[in-house]
C-alpha cells in the first residue's frame, strides 16, 4: 500500500494526518452521478480521484459537431452504413447518434456484450469523460410518493427504504445547482421544483392542452422540465440557451447541464479532484478482516498498464450496468458471487421504461403560425392512470407522455408530395402541416428474472468478463404499451387532430436508456444490496449512487433522482467519515 504524505485538508474533513490511503475517495465514472459525487465529495474537502473508462473530452473544444451545417456533414447526414453495422450496431439505433455525435459514443465492436438472441437488449453507452450527461435528453422530474410507495402498494418488488420527504431537500439542492426550467403545476404525482422560467408551449400545443383539459380534466399537459438554462444562474458562468436545437452535439456555452459544463468544473475548482480518463475499473479489493473495500484495480485502456489505487471511500457511479459489472467481477472468498452480493440480487431486477409507442396526428387551422427557433424540449403529460386504487385497468402503475407539435419540414414533405419541377419545389418552400406527436414512457416492473450477469467464458479486450443480458417485457409493460396508444390517439382526436395514427416500433429493453435497478436499495440486507443511503449493506465504505440503486422505475425520467441520491449519499458518507465511523 502506498503511503502518501499527510493530507492538507481543512481540519474536520475526516482525513487522518497520515491516512495510508492515496485518496480520501474514489469515484468510478464521470457521468451524471459520478460528476455529482466528485463535486460533493471534493467540496466537502475530500481528496477525490475520479476514474473514467472513456476518452478525455474537453468542454467546448471537444464538441466537434456543434453548429456544423448540413453541407459540411459527410453525405449530408446519410448514415455511414458499413461503419455503423460493423462498429456501432447498437449505438447507431439512438436518435442522438450521427456524425456530429459519433465521437462521444461507445464502439460496439471494441466493447461488445452478450444477450439472449430471443430478447435483445440495447446497451447505449458513452465513451467519453462526462459519460451520457453529454448526450442525455435533459428531462428532469421529481419522483413522488406515488413512485416511492408503488412496490409496497401493489406488491411487485420490495419497498423503497426512502420516501419523498427524504429526498425532497436534495431535489431542491440539485435543481438550484443544475438549473431546471419548468412550469409549476401543483400535481401530487409530479411535485413542482425550484424552476427557472419555463420554455413556452407553441400555439398548437396550447390548443391541444386546453382541449385535453376540457375532455379529460385529470390529464394535464405542461412544458417539459428540462436542465437547460432559460436565465442565468447566480453561481455559474454557464450561458443561456440560444435555441440552436441539437444539444447532444455538445454546447460550448454550457446551456444544458452536463458533468463537463457543471459538476466537474465545480469539483476541479476545489483543488481536491484528480480526474483520470482512459481508466477502466476491473474490480474492487475487499479486506475481510477490515470488512471494507481497500483498493480499486484499474487498467489504462491505452497502455494496458494495470495498477491499484486506494482510498477510504469508494463511490460507484459507473452506470446501472457498469457498476453491477464491476461488483460482480469483484469476487473473493468472502463474496464469491460478487462484492456486496450476500443477498444474491446483484444484477437482478433490471428495468427500463417502455418506449417507442404513441400516436401522431395532423392539425389544421394554424397555417399562419410557424415557430421560430429550435426548442430543445417538448411537452409533458404526467401520469394520470392508476392514481387511485379505484381504477380498474388491466395493468398496475402507469405512463406519461412526451412529444410536441411542429410543422413538417422539407424532408418530410418531399416524401409526402408527388411530382417534381417548379410546382414541387414551390410547395416545399413553405413549412408543411402541423403534426403533434405523443410518445409514451411506461413504468417497468422490477422482476427477478430480468437481469444482467457476467458471461461465464467470454471476455473483452482487457480480460473483463462480458456483460450478459436476460431481459424481456412482461404482460404489464405490454398492457401499458397498448393503453399508451389508445390514450394518445383519443387525446389527439379530442383535440381535433385528423389522420391520427398510432404506432409501436417494438423497442427492446435498454432502448429508452433509462436502465435501472441492478443493485437495489432496501431495508433488508437479505434482499437488497444498498441501504437507504446508497451504502452497501455488506461493505460500509462502498456507495453505489447511479441507476443501479433504483428499487422501482416509475414512469418518470430518472436522472435527477440519481443526482439527488448521490448528493444525499455523499453528505451521509462524509458525515460518517467525520464521526469516525468509516
Amino acid at each position: 500500500m502506498t503511503v502518501t504524505p499527510g493530507c492538507r485538508r481543512p481540519a474536520g474533513s475526516g482525513c487522518a494526518e497520515v491516512s495510508g490511503y492515496e485518496f480520501d475517495a474514489i469515484v468510478v465514472g464521470s457521468g451524471i452521478s459520478g460528476g455529482w459525487a466528485a463535486k460533493e465529495l471534493s467540496e466537502k474537502g475530500l481528496r477525490t480521484l475520479v476514474l473514467e473508462r472513456g476518452k478525455p473530452l474537453e468542454h467546448g473544444a471537444g464538441y466537434l459537431g456543434e453548429h456544423r451545417p448540413a453541407w459540411d456533414t459527410p453525405y449530408r447526414g446519410l448514415p455511414l452504413r458499413d461503419l455503423y453495422r460493423e462498429q456501432y450496431p447498437v449505438q447507431s439505433t439512438s436518435y442522438a447518434f450521427d456524425e456530429n455525435t459519433r465521437h462521444f459514443w461507445n464502439n460496439d465492436a471494441e466493447n461488445p456484450y452478450d444477450y439472449d438472441p430471443e430478447h435483445p437488449f440495447e446497451w447505449l453507452r458513452a465513451d467519453v469523460t462526462g459519460g451520457r450527461s453529454i448526450l442525455w435528453g435533459r428531462q428532469v422530474y421529481r419522483w413522488s410518493d406515488l413512485d416511492f410507495e408503488a412496490n409496497l402498494t401493489d406488491g411487485f418488488g420490495i419497498d423503497w427504504p426512502i420516501r419523498y420527504a427524504d429526498i425532497e431537500p436534495w431535489y431542491a439542492y440539485v435543481e438550484r445547482f443544475i438549473g431546471v426550467s419548468g412550469q409549476p403545476e401543483d400535481l401530487p404525482q409530479l411535485p413542482d421544483g425550484e424552476f427557472l422560467e419555463p420554455m413556452k408551449l407553441n400555439v398548437v400545443e396550447r390548443h391541444v392542452r386546453d382541449r385535453i383539459a376540457e375532455t379529460y380534466p385529470e390529464r394535464r399537459m405542461t412544458i417539459g422540465r428540462v436542465a437547460v438554462l432559460t436565465e442565468p444562474l447566480p453561481h455559474s458562468d454557464r450561458g443561456v440557451c440560444h435555441y440552436c436545437g441539437p444539444c447532444q452535439r455538445g454546447c460550448s456555452v454550457g446551456a444544458y447541464f452536463s458533468s463537463l459544463s457543471s459538476t466537474l468544473p465545480a469539483a476541479r475548482a476545489t483543488g481536491n479532484m484528480t480526474l483520470e480518463a482512459d481508466t477502466l475499473v476491473e474490480g474492487l479489493d475487499y479486506d475481510p478482516e477490515l470488512g471494507r473495500v481497500t483498493g480499486v484495480r484499474v487498467v489504462n485502456t491505452r497502455t494496458r498498464e494495470r495498477r491499484r489505487v486506494t482510498a477510504r471511500l469508494v463511490f460507484l457511479c459507473a452506470s446501472t450496468i457498469g457498476s453491477a459489472q464491476i461488483l460482480l467481477n469483484s469476487r473473493s472468498d468472502a463474496f464469491p458471487e460478487g462484492l456486496a452480493n450476500s443477498s444474491g440480487v446483484l444484477g437482478r431486477y433490471l428495468m427500463d421504461h417502455t418506449y417507442g409507442a404513441g400516436a401522431r396526428g395532423l392539425f389544421a387551422g394554424f397555417d399562419e403560425f410557424y415557430p421560430q427557433g429550435s426548442r430543445p424540449n417538448g411537452i409533458y403529460i404526467p401520469r394520470y392512470r392508476n392514481l387511485d386504487a379505484g381504477d380498474s385497468l388491466p395493468f398496475v402503475r402507469g405512463f406519461g407522455f412526451q412529444g410536441g407539435a411542429s410543422r413538417l419540414d422539407w424532408q418530410a414533405m418531399a416524401r409526402l408530395t408527388p411530382g417534381f419541377g417548379p410546382a414541387f419545389k414551390s410547395s416545399l418552400r413553405m413549412p408543411g402541416p402541423w403534426v403533434m406527436n405523443l410518445i409514451g414512457f411506461g413504468e417497468c416492473l422490477p422482476r427477478r428474472e430480468n437481469r444482467m450477469s457476467l458471461h461465464p467464458a467470454k471476455v473483452d479486450r482487457f480480460g473483463m468478463p462480458l456483460v450478459r443480458f436476460d431481459f424481456s417485457w412482461s404482460d404489464n409493460e405490454r398492457a401499458i404499451t397498448g393503453q399508451i396508444q389508445t390514450d394518445a390517439a383519443e387525446m389527439l382526436r379530442a383535440a381535433g387532430a385528423v389522420e391520427v395514427t398510432t404506432y409501436d416500433v417494438g423497442k427492446v429493453g435498454g432502448s429508452c436508456i433509462h436502465e435501472m435497478g441492478t443493485a437495489r436499495m432496501g431495508h433488508d440486507p437479505s434482499e437488497s444490496v444498498l441501504n437507504a443511503f446508497n451504502q452497501a449493506h455488506d461493505v460500509p465504505n462502498l456507495f453505489v449512487t447511479d441507476g443501479s440503486a433504483m428499487v422501482s422505475s416509475s414512469c418518470v425520467n430518472p436522472s435527477m433522482t440519481y443526482m439527488a441520491l448521490t448528493a444525499r449519499a455523499a453528505d451521509h458518507a462524509v458525515g460518517q467519515l467525520r464521526e469516525g465511523r468509516l
Partner: protein
C-alpha cells in the same frame, strides 16, 4: 456542369474531325450504348451517366426565382452517393433506372434523354411516378414511417428524387436562397407568424 459542357465540346470536335454528320443522340447512343447501367470505373461514373443525372436533377428542382439543383451542386452529391455510399445492389437499381430512361427516350423519339425538350423529359420522368395514395387533401402520415428511399430496394425514381431533394435542401446555396439559414436563432417563439416569404428556416 463542366464535364457535360466539355464532353459536348469534345463530341463536336470529334464529329467535325471525322467529317460525318450524326445527330447528337446517335452519337450518344453509339458512344454509350447500353453502358448507362455500367458500374463506375476508377471511382467515377461516365460522362453520359453524369449528364443524365444532371438533366434529371434539373427536372426535379429547376432554377426558378431561386437557384436550382444544378447551381447547388446536386449532381456531384448524387454522384458521390451512387459511387461511394450505395451498396452494389442499390447502385445497380439506380444505374438501371438511368439506362431504362435512356432506352425509353431513344425508343420513342430516337433522341437521348438529355437532348429531349423539357416537356418530353418531364413526360418520361412523370411516367416513373408511383401511383399517388393521396394528394395534399388526403395527406397520409403513414409514408413518414417508411424507410428512406435512398436505401434499400426502393425504385429508381424514389431514390433519384430523395437524393436530389437531400442534396439541394442541405446545400449552402439553398440554405441562403430557397430557405432561411438560422444557425443560432437565439430565442424560441411558438406563436411566430409565417413570414411573407413563407420560407422554412434551417440550421
Amino acid at each position: 456542369m463542366s464535364t457535360a459542357i466539355n464532353r459536348r465540346a469534345l463530341l463536336k470536335t470529334l464529329g467535325l474531325a471525322a467529317g460525318v454528320s450524326l445527330s447528337p443522340s446517335c452519337r450518344r447512343a453509339i458512344e454509350s450504348g447500353a453502358d448507362l447501367s455500367a458500374p463506375p470505373t476508377g471511382g467515377s461514373l461516365s460522362d453520359p451517366q453524369l449528364e443524365i443525372i444532371a438533366a434529371l436533377a434539373d427536372m426535379i428542382i429547376p432554377e426558378t426565382d431561386t437557384p436550382g439543383a444544378i447551381q447547388a451542386g446536386v449532381p456531384a452529391f448524387v454522384h458521390s452517393v451512387v459511387v461511394d455510399w450505395y451498396t452494389p445492389a442499390e447502385r445497380q437499381i439506380f444505374l438501371d433506372g438511368l439506362a431504362g430512361l435512356e432506352a425509353d427516350s431513344l425508343g420513342r423519339w430516337s433522341v437521348s434523354y438529355v437532348d429531349l425538350d423539357r416537356a418530353q423529359q418531364a413526360r418520361l420522368l412523370a411516367e416513373l411516378e408511383p401511383p399517388s395514395e393521396g394528394g395534399p387533401e388526403g395527406l397520409s402520415l403513414a409514408a413518414l414511417a417508411m424507410p428512406p428511399a435512398a436505401s434499400g430496394e426502393l425504385p429508381f425514381y424514389l431514390k433519384l428524387k430523395e437524393l436530389t431533394v437531400l442534396g439541394y435542401y442541405t446545400s449552402e446555396l439553398a440554405a441562403g436562397t430557397e430557405l432561411e439559414y438560422q444557425p443560432i436563432p437565439g430565442r424560441y417563439d411558438g406563436d411566430a407568424r409565417l413570414s411573407a416569404s413563407g420560407r422554412q428556416w434551417v440550421r
